[in-house]
């Protein structure tokens, strides 16, 4: 009997598959990624959750004022009735979020409001049927609040009873099919060095390698360079460049340095985005690819052969072949995808012997900041009550007209990679809730202040650390060990943030404000062996994701220091190319030549 049942089941299954196949062949899906809208109006592209969503999305970041509609033209294979599906979420379901928006087809608004469902899972929402009367229509998304409503994609389908998939794997396959993405994307060519990540570390690595004569691709997932120091995040550069053991280092960092406007300065220009881009564009050996999120790595054994990136707006894919790769993503994305050994969180005292290490190893990381600033204006302005945000009172609120580094979320209670969206959203709920309190209850001081800028891109401090041949630790730093390959000089204190105790008292488990203790250090050098992966042969690393312990990372993580790591990686890459060898072999066989470069000496070529 059980056997018969199984056969029946199989028959049903075959029949089912057959029917679905028929259905697919007969149906028309018109799939629109919002980030590809022709006119984004006031909406912004957010790619920060690409690794968990497989896509970027559009967001209405209006700081409480509705932004202009995003619009685009959509072509249809045939006219008629289509079912509409809208992929979105309620980002602040407490109990209902403010991210409300509507969708319109040829000026006719679909009678449904999205973004207030009370569920913070990304899902397809059934938006009913609509009649498509022309070969092409004008599709618009209309923001209703200015409070970060978001929309990933819109699907029109004439297949009856079709529900688009929500599970990541199925959805990714569905997207890929409907976006006509193939397994062999357009090639950008072959490069000596592919630098992924256009923050300070990556930009300096690319410039350094380029000036050593290498053909370089620099890939950045945002429209601007500079990362945490860009106008999108606005963290100032820290770490000194005037105490260097090797004074030659720091020259490119100085070029990147736009002066110190502090953290979260309301004037975007202070951070010099255009200047940074101009410096890179002046390098004839660098091909710059902005707006490109690298999500795939191709490799042979333990050698990376190519990476694939997707444009965060057009969704076109590009493949970059290279001899060497440098992971300057901050998240160690390339290393992770390639199977490089990595670490995330804190080591235990027993493991590292560091006095500042945790008693037990755990997932604790430093948090992510979304900085903000207000400005005094001539007239009084209002800001709505924000019941969906964090709640404040006379007893506890942050009485400031702008943010500094302390505005920080994600101390082990969120994963800084997979929960990046939640972390940013928690920061927004803190910012808007506090600002609403100040505007509505401290009007004497704040009536004429207006939010001038709120970051929607998080300034992330910590995630993965790619393990190299040396793991820098607290003792290396405090004992000032000078290894033969000691290269970049670091000067920042061991600066490990934790939730501010008062903030913890009021927002236990939901902290958004940090404290720190600075453990002063004498200038010390970071060994070159921290700057490449131990098990992926052709992978350099620079930036916050280098090979250190959590404690040591507390000091190496600041951006001038990270920039100099990039410079060293550029020099080392030159040697790997010159001798057709690996980053490790540069340490083993060509260290004198690397150090000579750092010293500014010319050495005669070695055999």
């Amino acid at each position: 009997m059980p056997g018969t049942k199984q056969i029946h089941m199989r028959n049903y299954l075959t029949l089912f598959l057959l029917l679905s196949a028929l259905q697919i062949s007969a149906q028309n899906h018109v799939f629109v990624e919002t980030e590809s809208f022709e006119d984004k109006g006031g909406w912004v592209i957010d790619q920060q959750s690409f690794v968990v969503m497989g896509s970027s999305y559009l967001m209405a970041h209006g700081m409480g004022r509705p932004v202009k509609d995003a619009t685009t033209t959509v072509k249809f294979p045939k006219k008629g009735k289509y079912h509409v599906w809208v992929r979105t979420k309620d980002w602040a379901p407490f109990p209902k979020g403010p991210g409300k928006f509507q969708v319109s087809v040829d000026g006719k608004t679909i009678n449904q409001t999205f973004g207030e469902s009370g569920s913070d899972e990304w899902k397809w929402y059934d938006a009913g049927e609509t009649e498509i009367k022309n070969d092409q229509i004008k599709l618009a998304i209309k923001d209703l609040t200015g409070f970060n409503g978001r929309c990933d994609a819109i699907l029109f389908t004439d297949a009856p009873k079709f529900t688009p998939p929500d599970k990541l794997e199925e959805l990714t396959a569905f997207r890929k099919k409907l976006l006509n993405l193939t397994d062999t994307p357009v090639s950008a060519g072959h490069f000596d060095m592919v630098v992924v990540g256009g923050g300070i570390a990556g930009t300096c690595a690319a410039i350094s390698a380029s000036r050593m004569g290498l053909k370089v691709a620099l890939i950045q997932d945002r429209p601007v360079l500079g990362g945490n120091n860009s106008s999108e995040i606005r963290v100032h550069l820290m770490g000194d460049v005037d105490k260097n053991y090797y004074p030659k280092l720091g020259r490119i960092v100085r070029e990147m340095d736009n002066g110190d406007p502090g953290n979260g300065n309301p004037d975007a220009k202070e951070y010099g985005d255009a200047r940074k881009t101009a410096i890179v564009k002046a390098e004839k050996n660098i091909s710059l690819f902005l707006n490109t999120f690298v999500y795939k790595v191709e490799k042979q054994n333990d050698i990376i052969t190519a990476v694939v990136g997707r444009d965060i707006a057009t969704n076109k894919e590009t493949r970059f072949e290279g001899s060497f790769f440098s992971d300057c993503t901050g998240d160690g994305t390339i290393g992770y995808l390639a199977g490089a050994e990595f670490r995330m969180g804190r080591e235990s005292k027993a493991e590292t012997g560091e006095s500042l290490a945790a008693e037990k190893a755990d997932d604790f990381t430093l948090g992510t900041s979304n900085l903000w600033a207000s400005l005094p204006r001539d007239t009084v302005s209002t800001f709505p009550e924000t019941p969906w945000a964090l709640q404040f009172s006379d007893e506890y609120h942050i009485d400031n007209s702008k943010a500094d580094w302390e505005w920080e979320t994600g101390f082990g209670n969120f994963n800084t990679i997979t929960d990046a969206e939640k972390i940013r959203d928690h920061n927004l709920r803190a910012i808007y809730g506090n600002w609403s309190y100040l505007k509505n209850h401290k009007s004497q001081k704040y009536a004429k202040h207006e939010l001038a800028w709120v970051a929607y891109i998080g300034g992330k401090r910590e995630s993965r650390r790619i393990i190299g041949d040396h793991i820098l630790n607290q003792m290396d730093i405090q004992e000032g060990k000078q290894y033969p390959d000691g290269s970049v000089t670091a000067t920042w204190t061991i600066d490990l943030h934790f939730p501010d105790s008062k903030n913890s008292k009021y927002f236990e488990g939901q902290e958004f404000f940090a404290g720190t203790k600075h453990i002063k250090v004498a200038p010390y050098t970071i060994p070159y062996r921290c700057l490449y992966s131990k098990n992926i042969q052709n992978l350099f690393v620079a930036g916050r994701n280098i090979s250190t312990t959590h404690v040591a990372f507390g000091s190496t993580r600041v951006m001038r220091t990270c920039g100099m790591m990039g410079e060293v990686v550029g020099f080392a890459a030159y040697l790997t190319a010159k001798y057709k060898t690996t980053p490790r072999d540069v340490y083993q066989d060509h260290l004198p030549e690397l150090m000579a470069i750092l010293k500014g000496e010319t050495v005669s070529p070695q055999p």
Binding site: P95, K96, D404
Partner: protein, 339 residues
């Protein structure tokens, strides 16, 4: 005991002596105001007078000090005259200047209006950068210039610190902040303790000062959560009040017995309806441990449908924890769990 001493103070304002304190009457605006004075001995060389303002009935209002302090650099001291005001629990509230007195900077420039405002901001900040610092950490010796080494010590950049001090008056800010949060504060607490009576507690609980509310809650809610009967209305007012933090604290401190009567439970549900989201969550968490009347469980059951995930989970938990449920509530609960 306290009532009697109060009574005595009213009757014999000139004669009653309490430890080191002295008492006086000052005629001001033709109205009798009473001030009690306390000598505070900080160390062998520093003794000063702390004053307690009383109202017409002899009830304490606030503390203050008429301060005269030298602010000294290596070779030069200058006198600073300033009055500080604290609440009854020693929380710094404000300052003013005696008539004809001004504050100056190191170059003898008089404070501008914004400097005076900034001083109030600086003094109001309990977690100031000054808390962990000595003067020598902050400025270059013998000057009033911010030291370059500050950021190494504090991690704050010179820029941030400049926001926390008044340029040219760093020493003044530092000296005054240390007074605002100095040794007089625990003395004030002790003095206020001596005034504790039901009337004071009622006025603390029903007033606007949250420090007073926490202090009084500690007195009227016992460790096991039992609330003194006569204070129940005060505690209710706090729970339904606008300050989320005192409301939540009162809710969490009060024991299950406080919420045991149907009337109180129905009142709590009314509070729930208009409460902020975090307060709603706190109320639901509280209800998890309380046996509830049937009216309330039915209301909660009816409410499940329009809840978000977090609240739905808590409401289900509340219903599950009940020994008795009406058939209707049971049905809703079963259907919800099945979903």
């Amino acid at each position: 005991m306290y009532n009697i001493s109060c009574f005595l103070i009213i009757l014999t304002p000139l004669l009653f002596l309490f430890g080191k304190e002295e008492e006086s009457i000052i005629l001001k605006n033709k109205k009798v105001e009473k001030i009690r004075e306390f000598r505070i001995v900080e160390n062998d060389t520093l003794t000063y007078t702390l004053k307690l303002q009383l109202d017409d009935s002899g009830r304490p209002k606030y503390f203050f000090r008429n301060i005269f302090t030298p602010v000294c650099y290596t070779n030069e001291c200058k006198p600073v005259y300033i009055n500080f005001y604290w609440d009854l629990l020693g929380n710094y509230e404000r300052y003013d200047l005696p008539e004809g007195k001004v504050l100056t900077k190191i170059d003898h420039d008089e404070f501008k209006l914004e400097d005076y405002e900034k001083l109030q901001d600086i003094l109001s900040k309990q977690n100031s950068i000054f808390a962990d610092l000595q003067m020598e950490d902050l400025i270059t010796k013998g000057t009033d210039n911010l030291s370059d080494s500050v950021d190494a010590k504090t991690g704050a950049t010179l820029k941030t610190i400049k926001n926390e001090v008044i340029d040219g008056a760093v020493y003044t800010c530092f000296t005054l902040w240390k007074i605002a949060y100095g040794k007089a504060v625990p003395e004030m607490l002790k003095i206020t303790e001596s005034y504790q009576n039901d009337q004071l507690l009622h006025s603390f609980l029903t007033g606007k000062n949250y420090h007073y509310q926490y202090w009084a809650m500690e007195k009227v809610i016992q460790k096991d959560g039992k609330v003194s009967k006569s204070f129940e209305p005060d505690i209710e007012k706090i729970i339904e009040g606008k300050n989320l933090f005192t409301a939540r604290a009162a809710l969490q401190k009060a024991g299950n017995e406080f919420f045991s009567k149907p009337q109180k439970q129905n009142w709590l549900w009314e509070v729930f309806q208009s409460a902020s989201y975090p307060m709603q969550i706190a109320i639901l968490k509280k209800l998890l441990t309380i046996p509830l009347n049937q009216t309330l469980t039915e209301k909660i059951a009816d409410d499940i449908a329009k809840s978000n995930k977090e609240q739905r989970k808590l409401k289900i938990g509340v219903l599950k924890n009940q020994h008795r449920l009406s058939a209707k509530s049971r049905k809703i609960l079963d259907e919800t769990i099945d979903e």
